[in-house]
C-alpha cells in the first residue's frame, strides 16, 4: 500500500498535468493556424479579406464576407428551429412523458448523436434537397442546410437540457405544486429558471456544433460564393470553404484557407463569450 500522502500528491499532479496538456494543445492549434494564416496579410489587406465579397483564388481575390454571412445564417437559422424543439422535447422527457415512453425516446435521441454527419448529408441530398427543388432553385440551399443542421444539433440540446432539468431538486417541484401551481406553471416559472445554466450550456454547445459542422453542409448547401438573398439560394460556410478547397490549395490560397480557419476560431470565441455573458446576466437577474 502506498501512503495516502503519496497517492494524494500523485492524483493532484496527474490531474494538473493532464489539464495543462489540454490547454497546451489548444494553444498549439491556435499558434499553428495563425502561423499558416498570417502570411496572407502581407499580400491581402485584412479589411479586404474580411469584408470583400469576391473569392477567386485564380485571380488572387480573397474576400470571405459571404462565407461569414453564410455560416452565421445557417447557425442562427438552425438555432431558431432546434432550440424550441429541443427544450420542449427535454421537458417532455424529464417531466411529462410516462416512464415507458421515456425509456423508448431517450436511447433514440442518444443514437442521433452517434450518426456520422456524412449520413445526415446523404439524407439531405436524397430527401431534403429534392423536396426544396420543388419550391424553386436547385435545392442546394441555405434552407436545406438549416433543416439538416437543426436535426443534427437537436440531440445535443435535448440530452443536456434534460439532464439539467432532472438535476433540479425534487423538493422545489413538490413545494411549487404544494403551493397550488399547476404542472405547467411549475415547469415554466420554476423548473426552467432553475435549470437555466444547463439549458443555456446546451444551446451554446449546439451552436458550436452548428457552426463547426462541415461534411453535411458541403453536401447540401451548394457551396456557391454569394451572399444569399433568399432561403432558396446556395451559400458557403467558413468550414465548407476550407474543406472544399484545401485539396487544391497551394501558396497564398493555402494561407487564405488558414486565415479562414482563424476567422472561424475567433467567431466561435465571440459567440461563446456572448452566450456565457448572457447566461451570467440572466443568473444575476433571477
Amino acid at each position: 500500500m502506498l501512503p495516502r500522502y503519496f497517492t494524494d500528491k500523485l492524483a493532484k499532479y496527474g490531474v494538473l498535468i493532464t489539464a495543462l496538456v489540454s490547454i497546451l494543445v489548444l494553444l498549439a492549434i491556435a499558434v499553428f493556424i495563425i502561423q499558416g494564416g498570417l502570411p496572407l496579410f502581407s499580400a491581402v489587406n485584412p479589411f479586404d479579406f474580411l469584408f470583400g465579397q469576391s473569392w477567386s483564388p485564380t485571380y488572387d481575390e480573397y474576400g470571405i464576407l459571404s462565407m461569414i454571412v453564410g455560416s452565421l445564417l445557417v447557425t442562427l437559422g438552425s438555432m431558431v428551429i432546434a432550440v424550441p424543439l429541443g427544450i420542449a422535447c427535454a421537458i417532455l422527457l424529464a417531466e411529462v412523458a410516462p416512464q415507458r415512453v421515456r425509456n423508448l425516446l431517450r436511447p433514440a435521441v442518444e443514437l442521433l448523436v452517434g450518426i456520422p454527419s456524412v449520413v445526415y448529408g446523404l439524407v439531405g441530398i436524397m430527401v431534403i434537397v429534392p423536396a426544396i427543388r420543388n419550391l424553386g432553385g436547385t435545392g442546394y440551399s441555405v434552407l436545406a442546410a438549416v433543416l439538416v443542421l437543426s436535426i443534427m444539433v437537436l440531440p445535443t440540446i435535448i440530452s443536456i437540457s434534460e439532464d439539467s432539468l432532472r438535476a433540479v431538486p425534487r423538493t422545489y417541484r413538490d413545494g411549487s405544486l404544494a403551493l397550488g401551481a399547476s404542472q405547467w406553471q411549475t415547469i415554466w416559472h420554476m423548473l426552467l429558471p432553475a435549470a437555466r445554466s444547463g439549458v443555456g450550456a446546451s444551446i451554446v454547445l449546439g451552436m458550436g456544433r452548428a457552426i463547426g459542422e462541415t461534411m453535411a453542409m458541403i453536401m447540401v448547401i451548394g457551396n456557391a460564393v454569394i451572399i444569399p438573398t433568399s432561403p432558396l439560394d446556395p451559400a458557403r460556410t467558413l468550414t465548407g470553404n476550407i474543406a472544399v478547397e484545401i485539396n487544391y490549395a497551394a501558396g497564398l490560397h493555402e494561407n487564405a484557407l488558414f486565415a479562414t480557419g482563424l476567422v472561424l476560431l475567433i467567431l466561435i470565441l465571440i459567440l461563446n463569450s456572448l452566450a456565457t455573458l448572457a447566461l451570467k446576466r440572466g443568473e444575476q437577474h433571477a
Binding site: 473569392w55 477567386s56 483564388p57 485564380t58 485571380y59 441530398i125 434537397v129 429534392p130 427543388r133 432553385g137 436547385t138 435545392g139 442546394y140 458541403i218 453536401m219 451548394g222 457551396n223 456557391a224 460564393v225 454569394i226 439560394d233 446556395p234 458557403r236 474543406a243 472544399v244 478547397e245 485539396n247 487544391y248 490549395a249 497551394a250 490560397h253
Partner: protein, 278 residues
C-alpha cells in the same frame, strides 16, 4: 470488369515472356539484369487517380516486389508534392502554369471534358462553345435561349483549383471570363454527377471517364462527346493528363513510367474511358 481482366491478361502475358530471364536471375545472383523492388509514391489529380490505381495494380503483377502507392489531393497537390520531393511522381490534369517550373512532364493520356445535362432534357442536344461560355458566365440564364423550355438554367461547377475546372476555364471560358457566382459547386466529378442527375434544369461539366446513363453529354459545335472524337481532335474540350517528376527519375520510377507509356498499357487507358496518346 473487362478492363481489369484485360490488365491481368496483359500482365500475365508480359510476365510469361520474361519467365526465362527470371529463372536465370534466381540461379545466378551475379546476373546484371536488375530485379525491381521498392516503393513509388504518387499523388495528385483525382481525375488521374482511378487510372493510376489500375496501372499500379497491373505493374505490381509484373513486379511483385514493387509497391506503387497512389494518393489523391488534386492537381495542385500533384505539382506541389512533386516539386517538394515528397512523392516521386505527381499527377496533374491540366497544363502547368508559368509559375510551376522545374518538373519533367510525361503525357500519360488525354481526357475530354463533357458538358452534361439531365437525361430528361431532350430539347437540348448540342451547344456551341460560345453558348457554353455564355451559360457558365451567366449571360444566358434560360433554357429557352438555347432552344429548350422556358426554365431557368441551374449552373453546376467544380470548386476553385480543381484541375477539371481549371482546364474548363482555359478551354471554354478564356481569359477573364468567370463562372457565374451563384453556380452550385461540388467538390468531385462524382458529387457533381449526382447533383446533376437529380436536377432536370441543371448543366455541368465532368471528365469523360465519369460519363454514364445518369447524365446526358451534349455535342459541342455539332461534335458528339465520344472517345473517337476526342482522339481525332474534333471534340474541342480536351485536356492532357501528365505524370510529373523532378530531376532524373530513379531506375524504378523510370520503369513504371515506361510501362505506363507503353502501347499495351495505353490500350487499358482507352478502355477506362480516357484518350490514349499513342
Amino acid at each position: 470488369m473487362l478492363p481489369v481482366t484485360a490488365v491481368m491478361l496483359l500482365a500475365l502475358g508480359v510476365a510469361g515472356c520474361s519467365n526465362d530471364d527470371e529463372a536465370d536471375n534466381n540461379d545466378d545472383n551475379n546476373d546484371n539484369t536488375p530485379t525491381l523492388s521498392g516503393t513509388i509514391n504518387e499523388a495528385g489529380s483525382t481525375t488521374v487517380q482511378p487510372l493510376a490505381e489500375k496501372l499500379a495494380a497491373a505493374f505490381k503483377v509484373l513486379y511483385p516486389n514493387v509497391n506503387v502507392v497512389i494518393g489523391g489531393g488534386g492537381s495542385s497537390v500533384g505539382v506541389k508534392s512533386a516539386t517538394d520531393g515528397t512523392v516521386e511522381i505527381g499527377a496533374v490534369s491540366r497544363e502547368l502554369k508559368d509559375t510551376e517550373t522545374g518538373l519533367t512532364k510525361y503525357l500519360l493520356a488525354k481526357d475530354g471534358i463533357a458538358i452534361v445535362v439531365h437525361p430528361d432534357n431532350t430539347a437540348v442536344a448540342n451547344l456551341t462553345v460560345d453558348q457554353v461560355r455564355d451559360i457558365f458566365s451567366g449571360v444566358i440564364t434560360n433554357w429557352s435561349q438555347v432552344g429548350g423550355p422556358d426554365k431557368a438554367i441551374h449552373v453546376m461547377a467544380r470548386e476553385e483549383g480543381s484541375g477539371t475546372r481549371t482546364a474548363f476555364e482555359e478551354l471554354v471560358m478564356g481569359e477573364d471570363v468567370r463562372i457565374v457566382a451563384n453556380a452550385v459547386l461540388q467538390n468531385s466529378n462524382g458529387a457533381l454527377k449526382t447533383a446533376l442527375a437529380g436536377d432536370k434544369d441543371a448543366i455541368g461539366f465532368i471528365s469523360f471517364g465519369y460519363i454514364d446513363s445518369s447524365v446526358k453529354a451534349l455535342s459541342i459545335n455539332g461534335i458528339a462527346a465520344t472517345s473517337e472524337n476526342g482522339k481525332n481532335g474534333t471534340y474541342p474540350i480536351i485536356r492532357p493528363l501528365y505524370f510529373l517528376t523532378k530531376g532524373t527519375p530513379s531506375e524504378l520510377v523510370q520503369a513504371f513510367l515506361d510501362y505506363c507509356m507503353s502501347d499495351a498499357v495505353q490500350q487499358i487507358i482507352t478502355e477506362e474511358g480516357y484518350l490514349s496518346v499513342n
